[in-house]
């Protein structure tokens, strides 16, 4: 019983990390109708940036976010302007191929710079644990959870309490109508992409601190992230949060009661069941006819 409780707690805490990455992905889809398959690569890039700052300049992982997040925000802006904006026709499909290509380039650069050896981050909160009852929990999980709460709270504030957020949500509902009432949709899109990518940077640091990784980890990450946003309903932030937490809890509980090998298979099976019953995901809206 305690084992299962332990699994649920770890699942919730690490689920918050995935919530961070997936919210960026689903936000980009919601606003721009494009699927950023490169999110996994961007997460790993963020992890390596934090790792690099810590190794070379001894900057604490969490303090390093103050550098990596703005840097990745700018990278996101650049990518949007250079590669996504020029696509005029067939946006969704071509954007998937383009972000896949970006992902390949990032993977290539990272494996040249850092080789494909597994990397582990170190800090006092990574290496020491907190004792709760009978089990131990590395401090970093709690710190990561705090980070997710702060960043997702900030995202919520931007979306629902600022003028930019109104513009963003309007573009999410209807791009053309938003344009008609004077919202600069292109600008909103670029900034949204930037926000999504900087959330990937934060998620990357949080992810990298809890596990070992190498440039190939991006395939594992992107498959999980895609499953999370399909399950939550494409473009639904709330859905992505719940799906991320649910996924990791299910995975951790399965690995305790059954076997770690089957942990994510169970989750994928859940995806199949949900798609049969609710093709639009848990919180998604049915895609209407687009003219």
């Amino acid at each position: 019983m305690t084992l299962i409780l332990d699994a649920i707690i770890t699942g919730l805490l690490s689920g918050s990390i995935y919530a961070l990455m997936a919210s960026g992905l689903t936000l980009i889809f919601g606003v721009m109708d494009i699927i950023n398959v490169g999110q996994g690569a961007l997460v790993i890039l963020g992890a390596y940036m934090s790792f690099f700052l810590q190794q070379q300049f001894h900057i604490d992982l969490f303090v390093g976010l103050l550098i990596t997040m703005p840097a990745m925000f700018l990278l996101g802006l650049g990518l949007e302007v250079a590669f996504i904006r020029p696509i005029k026709r067939n946006r969704t499909t071509l954007s998937i191929l383009i972000t896949f290509a970006i992902s390949l380039i990032i993977e290539g650069v990272l494996s040249l710079l850092f080789t494909t050896n597994l990397v582990q981050m170190h800090a006092w909160y990574v290496d020491t644990s907190l004792r709760i009852g009978k089990f131990y929990l590395a401090w970093v999980y709690l710190f990561d959870f705090g980070l997710s709460v702060v960043l997702l709270g900030g995202l919520y504030f931007i979306l629902y309490r600022t003028k930019f957020g109104f513009g963003l949500r309007a573009s999410m509902q209807n791009r053309t109508a938003a344009q008609l009432i004077g919202i600069n949709v292109e600008r909103v899109s670029a900034i949204t992409f930037g926000i999504g990518v900087s959330l990937a940077a934060a998620g990357g640091m949080a992810y990298g601190a809890t596990t070992t990784f190498n440039p190939n980890s991006l395939y594992d990450l992107i498959s999980r992230l895609l499953v999370i946003i399909i399950l939550g309903g494409m473009g639904s932030l709330r859905g992505a949060l719940i799906a991320a937490l649910g996924m990791l809890v299910i995975e951790d509980v399965t690995s305790v009661v059954w076997s770690p090998v089957w942990a994510n298979t169970v989750f994928f099976m859940l995806l199949v069941v949900v798609l049969v019953l609710r093709p639009q995901g848990l919180f998604g809206q049915l895609e209407g006819r687009k003219q």
């Binding site: 889809f29 109708d33 699927i35 398959v37 590669f83 020029p86 696509i87 005029k88 026709r89 067939n90 969704t92 499909t93 071509l94 998937i96 191929l97 383009i98 896949f100 290509a101 970006i102 992902s103 390949l104 380039i105 993977e107 290539g108 650069v109 990272l110 494996s111 040249l112 494909t116 395939y219 992107i222 498959s223 895609l226 499953v227 946003i229 399909i230 494409m234 090998v261 089957w262 994510n264 298979t265 994928f268 995806l271 199949v272 798609l275 049969v276 093709p279 639009q280 995901g281 998604g284 895609e287 006819r289 687009k290 003219q291």
Partner: protein, 347 residues
Amino acid sequence: MRTIKPVGLIALLVISIVFPLIIKSPAVTTVAFFTLIFAAAATAWNIFSGYTGYIALGHAAYFGIGSYAMAIMCKDWGLQGGYLPFLLLPLAGVAAGIFAVPMGWIALRTRKHTFVVVTIAMFFIMQLMAFNLRGVTNGSVGMTLPIPTNWSGVFFNIPFYYVALLILLIALLHSWWIRHSKYGLGLLAIRDDEERALGLGVNTGQFKLSAFVISAFYVGMIGALHAYYIESLYPAFAFDPLFDLVVALMTFLGGLGTLAGPILGAIILEPTQQYFTMRFSQNGYYLIIYGAMFLAIILFLPEGILPTLRRRLARTNSESSGLQTNIQKDEEAPAAEATIHSDEVKR
């Protein structure tokens, strides 16, 4: 125009048949073999994704299923290396097709945008299965296939080359037949406006699923052939995410939804890729160059080579006589025209 086309086609066929008899170097025939299997895979992929407009990025799953089916059949029936395993290729294709029925049915419950993501996710599920179902696939240890030991180094590629050519021709004929049948018209109608097609009496669900299964069948066959060629199987290579991307890229480069486009794309890209792989042994450079090439193609040639050429041709012709080109355009490039039209409507 009318006479040039069949003559050109026959010339191409003859060239591809005598090619390995003239140039015997295994280095060249290897590249030729890979070009053929990717041309066939892209043609098969195009039957579903090109005609219906549903972009599937998980066909590597069927490639992997086909190759594992081949390996398992060879192992269980104790086959020796030689010509016999080639006869199993259609069975491996059927295995992939059988898997494609439920997977396609589930994936096609979602609409275009979500569909892409679901296919990617399903691909990863299958890859995971290959790692986890150790009893069937031997897990990450991998499997080996029978080796045709009595084929010499120079001869080795020849049978594979012709089998690949045969699969390509069959897939191409099938694609051509679909393109010119009422069934294909239904698929194109789905691409242009699914709701309207449904309203006009096209059974969209059945049409989409059957096209999906047909393309999975060919891709499974190609996977089996590839497995027999390389003689060993590992989950990460049998289920390779790059395959999804490469096949889509080839089709996009040549022209999505056209007959010759996927083949043209494969002929351009596969030798280039082989060259880069040989030139830069370090994986990183190769990925960067490939990604960059990919970006350039999509940004500068988003429609693909054939549709772009056709439009150029039509424009120069229309300067000389307006009426004639209109007729010709309707006959030659209904696919390209329809795409342009539907996108204009969307905007």
